[in-house]
Chain length 217, copies 2
């Protein structure tokens, strides 16, 4: 009597599923409460029994996306137990390519206010922690090197996320690139990430100022 689970036909679940379909097919901004209601053959107010507002529904979907995303990354990483970040990178890009709209929902859309709910934040942060922990492990998990590891993780994330978004960006379709670039793109990116991490960890990290040339003004 207190659980509230197990309905005759769990409408809440059905709403989420229908909404995710709409998003995957028509995009985030096309999602409307009335749409999912129509799709389920119920009245336009029924979904409001399970979600306070459109934003709350969106937040729940985002939460699930983060869960799925983290699972996706975890699966690839643990497939051979070595956690090679090239695998991680491939998995990351694959997810973004396969579910572009859900990826955009997580990382490219301003979070609605209900999305600040701790439950969502927890899973979102967890996804980053997968990457971060792999880098910290690389440095032997020494707290002394946490900052270095975090910088590495942010660099990897930047590059992967950047590539993922760029591939979806509309400008991309209009660029005329030199022949042979597109097929080599992913491998080249991974190679450069490797090179950057290797180079940045070997020579003494210079704590000096950014510029080596005096600014003009």
């Amino acid at each position: 009597m207190v659980t509230g689970r197990k309905k005759s036909f769990d409408l809440k679940e059905a709403c989420v599923r229908a909404a995710r379909e709409v998003i995957a097919e028509q995009g985030i901004e096309a999602l409307s409460m009335r749409d999912v209601a129509r799709k389920l053959g119920i009245s336009h107010q029924a979904p409001y029994r399970h979600f306070e507002s459109r934003d709350h529904l969106l937040a729940e979907i985002m939460r699930r996306c983060f869960v799925d995303f983290a699972e996706h990354l975890d699966r690839r990483k643990s497939s051979d137990g070595n956690g090679d970040h090239e695998d991680m990178g491939s998995a990351y890009l694959a997810y973004a390519a396969q579910k572009p709209l859900e990826y955009r929902l997580m990382f490219g859309t301003p979070w609605p206010e209900p999305a600040r709910h701790p439950e969502l934040v927890k899973y979102a942060v967890h996804a980053f922690d997968i990457l971060r922990n792999s880098q910290r492990a690389k440095y032997g998990d020494l707290p002394t090197h946490y900052a270095k590891a975090d910088l590495d993780a942010l660099f990897i994330w930047s590059t992967l996320h950047g590539m993922a978004s760029i591939m979806q960006a509309n400008v991309m379709q209009h660029l005329v690139l030199a022949p042979g670039v597109m097929p080599r793109l992913k491998a080249d990116l991974m190679h450069k990430i490797d090179a950057a991490l290797e180079a940045s960890s070997r020579p003494a990290p210079k704590p000096g100022p950014t510029r080596r040339k005096p600014a003009t003004r």
Copy 2:
């Protein structure tokens, strides 16, 4: 009589300005035709004399954003005539940080159909060409090295765009990073970009397959 320019008070111009204000203040999705009309004290249909639809207005704004963005990048680059890509990078990140919503409009929003207008595409591509040309110049503008230069440009773009979006992403605000990471972030990124480009151009570029390890399946 044929130019159509110079009205008593150029309403088209005023619409664009008002719309950009709304976007900068309230976000892209908050922009409404009726809002700009209200803001200008005119009837809700007046803007339609100058823009076929909301999407056409949005497209015009995007076009101007790309123009501004390219100008912004050009200005920094030519300030000392050397086109150091660290300057470019700083300029890129600075723009994204200063006009986050306009940046999102250009690179993070699905283009409405009217945005495929050649005029817009032209300026969007031009912004990328600034980056690409600087890389091609690095290789002495030899067509033989265009592919390499384009890969470099895409890598730089990925990393910069990734960092720019990540800094705006909502997840970022919830990450607890090791102390000292945030202040070092930008410099570290530039340093890693440098390292990646240097390393990838020095050793013989391996044209071999992506993986060095046989795939598990």
